[in-house]
Amino acid sequence: MSTGQTGPNTVIEDGDVYMTTLTDPPRESFRLSMLIYDTRYRSITIQVIALLAFLAMCVWLITNTLTNLESRDLELGLAFFSEPAGYDINQRLIEYDSQDTHLRAAFVGILNTLLVAFLGCITATVLGVVIGVLRLSKNWLVARLMTVYVEMFRNVPVLLWIVFALAIISETLPQPRDFRGEDAIASMNLFDSIAITARGFYIPEALFTRSLGDIHLFGDSSMRFDISLDLLAFLAVLFAGLFTSKLIKKRADAIQEATGARPTTWWQRILVVAGPVLILLFALGFYLGMPELKGFNFSGGTFMRNSLIALWLALSLYTAAFIAENVRAGILAVSKGQSEAAAALGLSSGRTMSLVVLPQALRIIIPPLISQYLNITKNSSLAIAVGYMDLTGTLMGITQNQTGKALETVLLGMMIYLMVSLSISAAMNWYNESVKLKER
């Protein structure tokens, strides 16, 4: 009860207080039955019982586990992590060979999981938004096609799409050997820089003649990790450029606000972003390493295995169908008056969409989008179906098989997935808070 109020309320409150003091029962001593019947204590009783039951269950599970392990003569321990893994991994972001430890293999797996999840989230979002918007298109054929797409992908299991994608890639695309010879069946795309083969895509890689070298993190341990200084420099310059460009835009906005005339800034903005980047690339001696057909395979360039492509493709297409539905629902939820108002202001339909409808729809779209991102991350564990070596393939796959440490590997793998999921949802929730309509 607030005390600082004046007026008639106070009177009533005073009366209240008076009444309650009159009917206040005499202090009674605590009886055992009050634990059940008295609402003051009942909640504590229930909580204590729940906690005890939970603890009892934990103890029960742990004792069972220990007895079972003993009866099977198995020992718990993570010592296997420091033993050589003995197997090779094809698609990897960091250097690794079969003599590295199981821990390193698990690390490679985690990075692979993150890689495909990251790529999948980006393409699924782009595809999903495009399809969601097109599904609302006035073009009858396009709208119908998009509906067919959404229904087709939503109603068939993602695992089936993943194996299907791999089958399509490996059955329909040309082999590296088709590129060989004078009258080759297949040829490379984009000025001989990209080779699309059944084994995967070979794309040019960025190389530098005057490279700045790498930072070696964590010395020689299993978690050693190299960060390219060239990349860091590139990113730093790029972000600095983007930041300056944003400042220019802000200034232009301010001038427009004040005078009504907007200064032409596009060339300035392009210059501050592209100029320093180009200078940096020139200074570092940038050139593209092209893939070349050598022996059985292409060499040089960056190689994206068909397993990665299949998984990426299937996850993006599958999740895009869901995101498209979220986007559609979000757009439909924006009141019709908004787009009519935009039309009245003379905005074209494209600008209505990008300036008026989508920004508002975004607030409705983002929460389900978060769970779609989580789904991509979790579904990436289906990589084992196509032989992409993610966390399930390394730690919970071959490592578990070779060492027989099922308990340790599976539990550890689950913990890692849990941490990844929680970080993603934390980051996205933070973003969601920041774009949320600020209500008073």
């Binding site: 059940i36 019947y37 909640s43 229930i46 909580q47 204590v48 729940a50 906690l51 939970f54 599970l61 069972n64 586990t65 007895t67 079972n68 392990l69 009866s71 298109s137 006035k138 073009n139 009858w140 054929l141 396009v142 096609l145 229904e151 087709m152 939503r154 109603n155 068939v156 299991p157 993602v158 695992l159 089936l160 194996v163 299907f164 089958a167 059955e171 989580l374 979790k378 579904n379 564990s381 289906l382 084992i384 179906a385 399930t392 919970m396 099922a406 308990l407 599976v410 539990l411 793998g413 689950m414 997935y417 849990l418 999921s421 929680l422």
Partner: protein, 433 residues
């Protein structure tokens, strides 16, 4: 009266046909497909896509190989028919279709599976459709006992025993309520049901069974396979997860700190890990966690884990339903003097669940699709079975036919369910506005 010359037309002019360019197909196409350059490009692009897909697909589908006994025969038949290129080999579908549906279930028991499916349908009808006769609710109450009996078989008495446990619990609850009060009666009901299940049901039902051996032939769950396995796992998990999900959702909404923490922890843990890891737990760890006397076979272990998995998602769906309920409903229930459980049972849950049904259906679609993951741990669901079929020498090398067929099977089920969910959403919307 002289003749007046009328300057105003008194009879209506014949209506003219609209310009040819705005009627019929042409007009429709102009309005919907070719209004503007961008749209025209999109339309042409779409037409090309459709043509490209169909021109590849249709010749492949039309393949004279229905009677083939092996892939080699397929190839011979295609060559004999004078066709070239890759064509479908439908012999595998003819030979293995039944297996893809029923797995290794004994053929003389197929009627049991079909009957079970019909009973599930009848049991769910009154929940899903308003127009279904209310009498079907009896089926709803009984099908959780009839369906396992039909699927697994064995003597009928253990199932009756399980059913009677609920009856015992219910009567204790009903008659003890006056004497003991709600909470104690609930506890007494649950305890008496468990006493019945653990100590009394076994011997009593065993005794009846030895006198009256009524039952069906026992079928091991290992014989389950194909689409039937996917349906068994999916349906059991979703029905089992509903009560669990409601409890978790209430726990998450509750003011009790520890209860809330436990529920949130459980939900977030399950939702944070991929289903496949839970299946690994089912296949490799669950029998390390449980005492040796509690051995379940792999399918039941998988069902348990999938149930826990979907319970976490179900809890979130129900929580959504609870949150969507106007606060007035809670306050009205309080104003009527209902206690927490009565308020939940009589006011809150019936409304919240009704709002949640579309969410529940889409959770079910998700779980049903996710049952394909069990092929990774070696269970022979349709996808797992397709690998086993391809290991048969006769069909070694078949790819598209089986994937396509499985895709179509899943599509038929999931699509009809999603249509149902949409119908429901429309119905609910008009009900509220």
């Amino acid at each position: 009266m002289s003749d007046k010359i009328s300057f105003v037309r008194t009879e209506m002019l014949e209506q003219k046909a609209p310009p040819a360019s705005t009627t019929g197909f042409v007009g429709w196409a102009r309005a919907n497909l070719f209004n503007g350059i961008g749209n025209s490009v999109l339309t042409l692009l779409s037409i090309y896509c459709v043509y490209y897909v169909l021109s590849g697909l249709i010749p492949w589908l039309v393949s004279p190989t229905w009677k083939a006994e092996s892939l080699t025969q397929c190839r011979e038949m295609i060559a004999a028919a004078g066709k070239h290129g890759h064509l479908a080999c439908w012999g595998v579908v003819r030979e293995r279709f039944i297996q893809l549906l029923f797995g290794f279930y004994p053929p003389e028991g197929y009627w049991r599976v079909i009957l079970a499916l019909v009973i599930v349908g009848a049991g769910l009808a009154p929940v899903l459709f308003d127009k279904a006769p209310r009498k079907l609710l009896i089926v709803t109450a009984l099908f959780p006992f009839i369906v396992p009996f039909l699927l697994w078989g064995g003597l009928i008495w253990p199932y009756v025993g399980v059913l009677l446990g609920f009856v015992v619990g219910y009567f204790v609850l009903k008659y003890a309520a006056d004497a003991l009060g709600d909470l104690l009666a609930l506890i007494a009901g649950v305890v008496s049901a468990f006493v019945w299940w653990i100590f009394l049901s076994g011997p009593i039902m065993g005794a009846i069974g030895s006198v009256l051996p009524i039952g069906l032939e026992f079928v091991e769950s290992r014989s389950f396979g194909g689409l039937m396995l996917a349906l068994t796992i999916g349906l059991t998990a979703i029905l089992g997860s509903l009560p669990l999900g409601i409890v978790l959702a209430l726990g998450r909404q509750s003011d009790l700190l520890i209860v809330k923490a436990l529920c949130v922890g459980f939900i977030e843990f399950i939702r944070g890990v991929p289903l496949i890891t839970l299946l690994f737990v089912a296949s490799t760890l669950l029998n390390i966690f449980l005492p040796p006397s509690m051995e379940f076979d792999i399918i039941v272990r998988v069902i348990i884990m999938v149930t826990l998995f979907s319970a976490a998602y179900m809890a979130e769906v129900v929580r959504g339903g609870l949150a969507a309920l106007p606060k007035g409903q809670y306050e009205a229930a309080d104003a009527l003097g209902l206690d927490y459980w009565k308020a939940q049972r009589l006011i809150i849950m019936p409304q919240a669940l009704k709002i949640s049904i579309p969410g529940i259906v889409s959770t079910f679609i998700g779980v049903f699709k996710d049952t394909t993951l069990v092929s990774v741990i070696g269970l022979l669901d349709p996808l797992g079975l397709s690998n086993a079929i391809r290991a048969d020498q006769a069909w070694n090398g078949i790819v598209w036919e089986l994937y396509g067929l499985i895709g179509v099977l899943f599509f038929v089920f999931c699509f009809s369910m999603s249509r149902y969910s949409m119908y429901l959403e429309r119905k609910l919307q008009t009900g509220h506005k």
